[in-house]
Each structure stands twice: as structure tokens, then as C-alpha cells.
């Protein structure tokens, strides 16, 4: 594995921008080679509405990233071997399914067969027509009601249970985004939920053990992932994001789309702070024709209502899975909209837990520490983990050490 490095790219096609990170994977770890982004066109609420425009943006972002790789090592990467693709959008949906089995052995010791069977049962639920499974999140095993965080093999008990949170999406939409990449002769190796991707990099293992909720509020969608006992527990997406904040301002204050966005960035706040009804801010501030004054209170009220609602919808979607008690590490916010002032307070008011803005490890290059790149970074990590797990599974199925040694060269 270590002999031939693979060039990977993590691509997130978002509603506001397409982000791509190119990295080299040697089998042990990965080195980030370059990154690029491109303003997104033809994506609304995480879904592709203009296929050619999005394809062009995606190619552009990848091209930018490839070119940037030349900056550090001198020679730009020529070929991207595999792509990890993030998935989001309002079409995503999830459900929980459980399987249970009476432990077969007479001495009540759980065997590998029991585990395989109970997993098979829990996964067996069929999807509705036209839906495609994206992710299965396995919840911890339970043996006679006892929570088993690792494998229950060789433990004793009568009844073994396991549950899966299954995330599925609209088949045509997923294949749309898949072909966006595969049409340019690059293999899409993994598809990962955006929420899980950003959740992976902005939380620590300890936080995930204690229970943490990550909400990535992007341009068109808000992706969320709830972790409990170190594992992702529930994940999904709400098709509301920063674009809705701008749109609300646009409609409420009668602005053009671009103006709404600018007002949000310049004067936006997630909690009303302004007490003075008469306090005004300038639309552009350049005293040009068409510039006018807007009441700050109105801006803040519009944004507060929307931001609060996003959190309320997420909380509602999580249902009983979330409670402040089981989410000791609180809520972590990321994504472009998490830069909105006072958004953490707004979230804290809804979730009743401590909230902080997500940050990634200092080890990453500084531009990648921007919340806008968190998903792509997590995508890279998670994609590689998934690949490793897949390879490990393949390896374990292949017979004999020696034969594997001999078989290897033929793979390349």
C-alpha cells in the first residue's frame, strides 16, 4: 500500500461555493497538496438545478486545486485518481431500524455469527422506491439491555440487539452529483454525508464520547450530525441555510439579492441587540445614488427569526435522540453561516446546552481552517477511513498471507 501514493480529492458541491482539496495518500496518512474553490452556480438548497453550470464550477474548483498543488511541491499534480464527494440536500431522509436475535449458543456466549446475523436483520429494511442508501450509522450493540460500546463477541447474554440509523436520498439527485465527477473520468470512491464530514473535524474523540451535536450551516443547507458514545448517532440535512437569511432580508427590506447578502455580512446578527427603533444603517455606505438607510432593528429581527427557526427545525428532526443530558459536550457550529455574530447564543437558547463555534486542528494550513472548508477536510479524513475499512475487509476475505503477497503486484 505504502509503495504507490494515490492522489485524492475531496469535493464539496455547496450552494454557495464548490470546495476541493487535493491530497496524497500513502496508505498511512495523507498530505494536503493544494486546495481550490469556485463560486457555485446552479446549486440551490444543496441540489443541482443547472447541470452544465455546476459541472463547470466543479471542474474549475478541481482545476484550481490542482494548480495550487504546484505552489508547495513545485510540480502540480497531473492526475486525480479518486474523489470523495459530500452529499447534502433536502431530499435526504433518515430512519431508524433495529434488529434483535436470541444468542444461539447454549452457554449464551455471543459468536461472530450472532453479530453478523443481528446486523443483517437490522439492515434488512427496504427503502422506498427511487431512494438510495447513503449511510448506515450503527448504534452500539445492546446485550440484554446493556450497552456494549465495542464488539460484543465472547460476551455472555441472551438477547443481542443493534440498531442502524439509515440515511437515504433521492436516487436521481445522488446520481446527478455522482456523474458530475465521473463524467470527467475520475472515480468517485466514496460518498459521505456533509454533516458527518464536518462533524469529524470539528469535534474531538472525547467530545464524541460525551455526546455532541454538530450543525454545519452552509449556503443552502444545514447539515447536522449527533454523536453519542463516540459514534455518529443521527445525521441529516435541512434545506435551509445562509441563503435563506439573505433571501429573508431581500424580501423583508426590499433589496436585490446581492444587497441582501451584503447587508447580512455587514450588519447581520443572530440575536436582536439593537434597542433603538430609529437606528439606521446604510445599505452600501458609499453615499452613491441608490444608497439608503435601513433600520438595524428590522435586519436583526428578520435574522433572529430565521436562525432560531433553523435550530428549532434541527432539534425537531432529532426528536428524542437529542437531549441536553445526552449531549454533554454541547453543540458545535460550523459552516459559513456560523460566522454570523451571536449565532452561538441563539443556538444555546434553543438547545439549552453550551455552544461553541467549531475549529479544526492547527495542523492544517491556515486557509483551510475557515469554516467553509471544514466539510471538505472532514470528507478527506472520513473518506480515507472508509477506504481503509473497505480494504481491510477485502484483505480479511482474501485467503492466505503468501498468496496475497504474490497476488499484489498484479493489482496494479
Amino acid at each position: 500500500m505504502s509503495s504507490d501514493p494515490v492522489t485524492l480529492a475531496a469535493v464539496e458541491i455547496g450552494s454557495s461555493k464548490v470546495a476541493a482539496i487535493v491530497a496524497e495518500y500513502t496508505g498511512y496518512g495523507f498530505t494536503i497538496k493544494g486546495w481550490g474553490e469556485c463560486q457555485s452556480q446552479g446549486v440551490r438548497k444543496g441540489c443541482v438545478i443547472d447541470y452544465p453550470a455546476v459541472t463547470q464550477c466543479t471542474q474549475q474548483a478541481l482545476e484550481n486545486a490542482k494548480r495550487a498543488t504546484g505552489g508547495s511541491s513545485g510540480v502540480p499534480v497531473e492526475q486525480i485518481d479518486k474523489v470523495f464527494l459530500a452529499q447534502t440536500g433536502g431530499h435526504l431522509d433518515g430512519f431508524y431500524n433495529e434488529g434483535a436475535r436470541i444468542v444461539s449458543a447454549a452457554d449464551n456466549m455471543v459468536s461472530a455469527e450472532d453479530i453478523a446475523e443481528v446486523r443483517r436483520l437490522a439492515k434488512a429494511k427496504e427503502l422506498p422506491e427511487g431512494r438510495m442508501l447513503l449511510e448506515r450509522l450503527r448504534h452500539p450493540f445492546r446485550l440484554d439491555g446493556r450497552l456494549i460500546k465495542s464488539s460484543p463477541e465472547h460476551l455472555c447474554g441472551r438477547r443481542l440487539e443493534v440498531g442502524y440509523w439509515m440515511v437515504h436520498g433521492d436516487e436521481s439527485r445522488i446520481s446527478d452529483s455522482y456523474h458530475m465527477i465521473s463524467n470527467s473520468q475520475i472515480e468517485v470512491a466514496e460518498m459521505v454525508l456533509s454533516g458527518l464530514a464536518s462533524g469529524r473535524v470539528v469535534t474531538s474523540q472525547a467530545e464524541r464520547e460525551h455526546g455532541v451535536l454538530v450543525i454545519d450551516i452552509g449556503g443552502g443547507t444545514s447539515d447536522y450530525a449527533l454523536y453519542r458514545d463516540g459514534l455518529p448517532y443521527v445525521a441529516g440535512a435541512v434545506a435551509v441555510g445562509g441563503g435563506h437569511l439573505s433571501n429573508d432580508l431581500t424580501i423583508g427590506l426590499r433589496l436585490s439579492t446581492g444587497q441582501g447578502d451584503r447587508v447580512k455580512l455587514r450588519h447581520g446578527r443572530a440575536i436582536v441587540q439593537c434597542r433603538d427603533k430609529a437606528q439606521k444603517v446604510w445599505l452600501d455606505g458609499d453615499l452613491a445614488i441608490g444608497d439608503r438607510q435601513l433600520p438595524l432593528l428590522s435586519i436583526e429581527k428578520i435574522l433572529e427569526a430565521r436562525v432560531r427557526e433553523i435550530f428549532e427545525v434541527v432539534k425537531h428532526k432529532l426528536g428524542t435522540a437529542f437531549s441536553p443530558e445526552t449531549c454533554a459536550a454541547g453543540v458545535v457550529l460550523t459552516g459559513g453561516t456560523s460566522k454570523l455574530p451571536a449565532i452561538a447564543e441563539a443556538a444555546a437558547a434553543v438547545f439549552n446546552t453550551p455552544v461553541h463555534i467549531g475549529q479544526v486542528s492547527d495542523g492544517f494550513p491556515e486557509p483551510l481552517q475557515d469554516p467553509g472548508f471544514h466539510t471538505a477536510l472532514g470528507l478527506l479524513q472520513l473518506g480515507i477511513e472508509k477506504q481503509r475499512a473497505r480494504e481491510a475487509a477485502e484483505r480479511s476475505q482474501r485467503p492466505g498471507f503468501l498468496r496475497r503477497l504474490f497476488a499484489r503486484p498484479s493489482r496494479h
Partner: protein
């Protein structure tokens, strides 16, 4: 003022007391009511009084057609300037407008002449429209008399405390710009004074009718549709249902004055074969046929954007065998999904033996978004009843007030103080329903911008429910919209994308708007 009177006698079983409802045409209705309410026995409680007033040429035609059907308890009246037209009508109660001005001639399609005639005969109009609990004002807009007098009839009826439902036939576009313009202006005026206006654009009939069909045939078709609609509402009040609905349910549906209204009829003739004939299709087939025929109703003025209704009143009428509960269930569920599950569903079902194998569906959807609470009080009614019935009047007024109390909270105080003064000022008295005083009728949208509503589109005031009552009370009158018109345009950037429904709400519509938060620009 009988605000305190909250006694709310149960509504009478209509079938049990049919005679009490039939009023001798032309007589003032109050003595009848007073006499009826003098007794405390259940069967003699004051009945719900209905009345249908046909205004102008088209209105007279439709009323005449309905008079042939002899709907018990639905007295008819016709109002026109044209003496000849009135003379031809078989309706008993006739009201000739502007005898001096028009000398029995029609308004000749000139709304100004119609207005003068109507103004001159305001007292007559008040006598025609007043006194009923539910008044249908049927008219064809675009002409002279209908355009000018219909809003006045509606206003007088509303002033007297009645629930007013307007049926307006809009002219064909080939009838020319002037008529269309007059019709539009009149429609705005009518919407301002009616609890609901159901519109039937003649153009739709043109598309529907066969190639060679004459204009006359199309006009007749329009008449027939309105007759069906009136019959459906009449049936709802008059027949005791399997799942019964009464006047209170209707009032509930029109709780907020000027709400957007959507009205549809389905079934009847078109669906007959599928409902009755094809036994193998069974209930599911019947339900499907009903739902399929619903969009064909020309009264159903429902642009694609209409997504949500706050209240849905669904009434089924059918033969004993045809009307099954599973059919009701399937159809109501489909309608509920179509208009959002949050909608408050009021379902009624009536067995009508004469329907045989047929099932007819009538549904009325209203949406509160951004409209003032419908009622203040039955001041007009209270005054009238007291004058007419002495002590009994309090009971009658109490019923009106009670039935409508609880709907106005923020508006109560305002109405109580504004109303008395305005009631004395004749022509302006209708304005008491909406406080503060309304704008000049010429520009229905101007008050919105004056009041600083934050919508991009003039028709939009934000929020619904009680907060909207407040917002709308402050922003004065609201012209009633085509159902769903503003909703389709308030998604802005997300206009062309899929619905983003969550718990019955479209998340693409600004939150502040859905929650009724007032924004100043």
C-alpha cells in the same frame, strides 16, 4: 351594544322547522325572527336567515334561474336599474334602483350611472340586503349596475351583521378593456366588503365550452355553476347531515374577513359514471373521480402557488349508497395533503336521496395570512334586533355577538370606540368593520404601503392568527387576493425550487412572515 351578552342558543334543526325560514318576500325579516325567538322551545329558536340577492343583469338572470329550483328557506331578491329586466324575472322581491335618474332604463354599462342610481336608492338597498344572517350577493361585474351596486348591497348587508358571500362573474376579455377595467375595480370594492368573494371568470368558460358553442350558452353555463355553488352552501345549512355542519361552521371558515378564499365543487354530473357506473372501481375509483373533477371547476380560482389553507370546509352530498365513510376519508386526506396538514379541517357529509348514485363535493378553503379578524360585533344587528324585537332583540344580538366573540381581540377595543361614531355617518358606516378608516377605493393597495408593511408585494401582510389581526388592524384595509397569489411570490430567490415543506410550512418563505413578526422598512 351587547358585548356582554354571550348566550349562544344552539342552532335549530333546520329540517324540523322549515316554515319558519321561508319568509314572505318583500317583508322585513325582523318580525319573523322576533316572533320566532319569543318562544323558548327548541324547535322555535330563531332560524338562520339566508338571502340571495341578484344585482345587475347577470345577477338577475342567476337569481331567476335559482327561483325555479325553489330552495326552501332561501328567499331571493333582485336589484337592477332596468325595469324591464326586473319585470321579466320570476323572483318576487324586486328592487328598482334610481327611478328618478334612470327612469327604469339600465345603466348602459356605465358604472358611474350605476353608482348614481344606487346612491339614490341606498335605503332600498339596505332593506334588501339587511336582516339575513347569510347573504349571497350574486352579480356580473363589468357592467353598470352590477359593478356599482353589488359592493353597496354587500356593504349594507355586512353592516347589518350578516355574513356576506359574493359571487362575481367576470366579463370575457373579448368584451373589451373598459368592462374588464370596471370589473377589476368593482371586484376590489366587493372584496373589501364581503367575507368571501368567489370569482367566476367567463374566460374559463370559453376555454371549456365546445368550439361552436354560442356566447349565450357560455353565459348559461356560468349561471349554472353559480347556482350549483349556492345550492351547495344552502344544502350545508339546510340539510341535516350525517356529519352535520351548520352556520357556525361556516362562520368559523370565514373567521377572518378578507381572507383568501378558494372554493371548489366536484363530482355531480362529470363524476357520475365513475362513481356509480363502474362498480369494480369501488370507493377508490369514486374518490379519484371526485378529486380529478375538482380542478375542472371554474370557480376554483387556484393558481399553482396556493399551497396552504388554514381552514378547509369540506362538504359531501350524496345518495345513501354512494356516500361511504372511506370515500370521505380518502378525499379529505388528499385535500389535507394538498393544502397542508396544519389546516383545520371541517368536514360535513349529507345524505340526499335525490342524488342517487352521485356524490358531490363542495370545499371552501380560507387562509388567514395577513388579514384582519373578520368581526367586531353585531352592532348593526344588535341595533336592528333591539329596535324590532324589544327584549328579544338582545337574544338575537347576543347570538350574533357570541358566535363571533373570541375572534376579535386586539380589534375589539378599536371597534367599540370607532364604530358608534361612524355608524351615524351613513355612507361611511361600512368602514366601521375595518379600522381605521379605509383608503379611497381607487387605490386599494396604498394603505399597505402607508402602514409600512414589509412585503415586497403589496398584497402581503405578514403573519396570521391573532398577531395578524393586530398587524392588519393597524394597516387598515386589505384587498382580498386571489388565493395563493402572494404566497407564490414570497419565496424570492427560491421561487423556482421545490417546496421545502416542514410541518406544513414552506421553509423557503421568510420566517418572520410566517410567524407574523412585523418589520418596518
Amino acid at each position: 351594544m351587547d358585548f356582554e351578552t354571550t348566550r349562544q342558543p344552539p342552532f335549530p334543526d333546520d329540517a324540523a322547522n322549515p316554515e319558519a325560514r321561508v319568509e314572505p318576500a318583500g317583508s322585513a325579516p325582523d318580525p319573523a325572527r322576533a316572533a320566532a325567538s319569543a318562544s323558548s322551545s327548541l324547535s322555535e329558536l330563531p332560524p338562520v336567515l339566508l338571502k340571495l340577492v341578484g344585482v345587475g343583469g347577470a345577477g338577475v338572470n342567476i337569481a331567476t334561474r335559482l327561483s325555479a329550483e325553489a330552495l326552501a328557506g332561501l328567499p331571493l331578491a333582485v336589484v337592477d336599474c332596468d325595469a324591464q329586466k326586473l319585470a321579466d324575472s320570476s323572483v318576487a322581491e324586486k328592487c328598482l334602483l334610481g327611478e328618478k335618474q334612470r327612469r327604469g332604463l339600465s345603466a348602459g354599462g356605465d358604472a358611474e350611472l350605476g353608482r348614481q342610481a344606487a346612491e339614490a336608492s341606498r335605503e332600498k338597498i339596505a332593506a334588501v340586503g339587511g336582516g339575513a344572517d347569510l347573504v349571497f350577493v350574486v352579480t356580473g361585474l363589468g357592467g353598470g349596475t352590477g359593478s356599482a351596486a353589488a359592493p353597496m348591497v354587500a356593504a349594507e348587508a355586512a353592516k347589518a351583521g350578516g355574513l356576506v358571500i359574493g359571487f362575481a362573474v367576470l366579463p370575457f376579455s373579448f368584451e373589451g378593456g373598459r368592462r374588464v377595467k370596471q370589473a377589476d375595480a368593482a371586484l376590489v370594492a366587493l372584496r373589501r366588503v364581503c367575507d368571501a368573494v368567489i370569482v367566476l371568470p367567463n374566460d374559463l368558460l370559453l376555454q371549456e365550452s365546445a368550439e361552436g358553442a354560442s356566447a349565450l350558452a357560455a353565459f348559461e353555463q356560468a349561471d349554472a355553476w353559480i347556482a350549483r355553488a349556492v345550492r351547495a352552501i344552502w344544502g350545508l345549512l339546510h340539510n341535516t347531515g350525517l356529519i352535520n355542519l351548520d352556520f357556525a361552521a361556516l362562520q368559523r371558515a370565514f373567521e377572518y374577513r378578507g381572507s383568501k378564499t378558494v372554493f371548489g365543487l366536484a363530482g355531480g354530473a362529470e363524476a357520475t359514471s365513475a362513481v356509480g357506473g363502474e362498480g369494480r372501481e369501488g370507493t377508490a375509483g369514486a374518490a379519484q373521480a371526485l378529486l380529478a373533477s375538482l380542478p375542472l371547476c371554474p370557480l376554483l380560482h387556484m393558481p399553482e402557488g396556493a399551497r396552504r389553507a388554514d381552514r378547509l370546509l369540506v362538504v359531501f352530498t350524496g345518495g345513501r349508497d354512494a356516500l361511504s365513510l372511506s370515500l370521505v376519508n380518502t378525499v379529505v386526506q388528499a385535500l389535507g395533503e394538498r393544502f397542508g396538514r396544519a389546516a383545520e379541517l371541517i368536514v360535513g357529509a349529507t345524505i340526499d336521496e335525490s342524488m342517487g348514485e352521485r356524490v358531490e363535493l363542495c370545499f371552501i378553503g380560507t387562509s388567514d395570512i395577513g388579514h384582519a379578524s373578520r368581526r367586531r360585533f353585531g352592532e348593526g344587528r344588535a341595533g336592528r334586533a333591539t329596535a324590532a324585537g324589544g327584549t328579544e332583540g338582545a337574544g338575537g344580538a347576543g347570538r350574533t355577538a357570541a358566535a363571533r366573540s373570541g375572534e376579535t381581540h386586539a380589534a375589539e377595543a378599536a371597534a367599540a370606540t370607532v364604530a358608534p361614531t361612524q355608524f351615524q355617518s351613513g355612507a361611511e358606516s361600512t368602514d366601521a368593520r375595518r379600522k381605521p378608516a379605509p383608503p379611497p377605493p381607487a387605490d386599494p393597495f396604498s394603505p399597505l404601503s402607508k402602514a409600512g408593511s414589509a412585503g415586497v408585494f403589496p398584497s402581503a401582510i405578514h403573519g396570521f392568527g391573532k398577531s395578524s389581526a393586530r398587524a392588519a388592524a393597524a394597516s387598515a384595509t386589505t384587498a382580498q387576493d386571489e388565493f395563493g397569489f402572494s404566497e407564490s411570490t414570497e419565496r424570492g430567490y427560491f421561487q423556482d425550487t421545490d417546496n421545502n415543506l416542514f410541518e406544513g410550512q414552506d421553509l423557503d418563505v421568510p420566517t418572520y412572515r410566517r410567524k407574523g413578526i412585523k418589520i418596518t422598512v
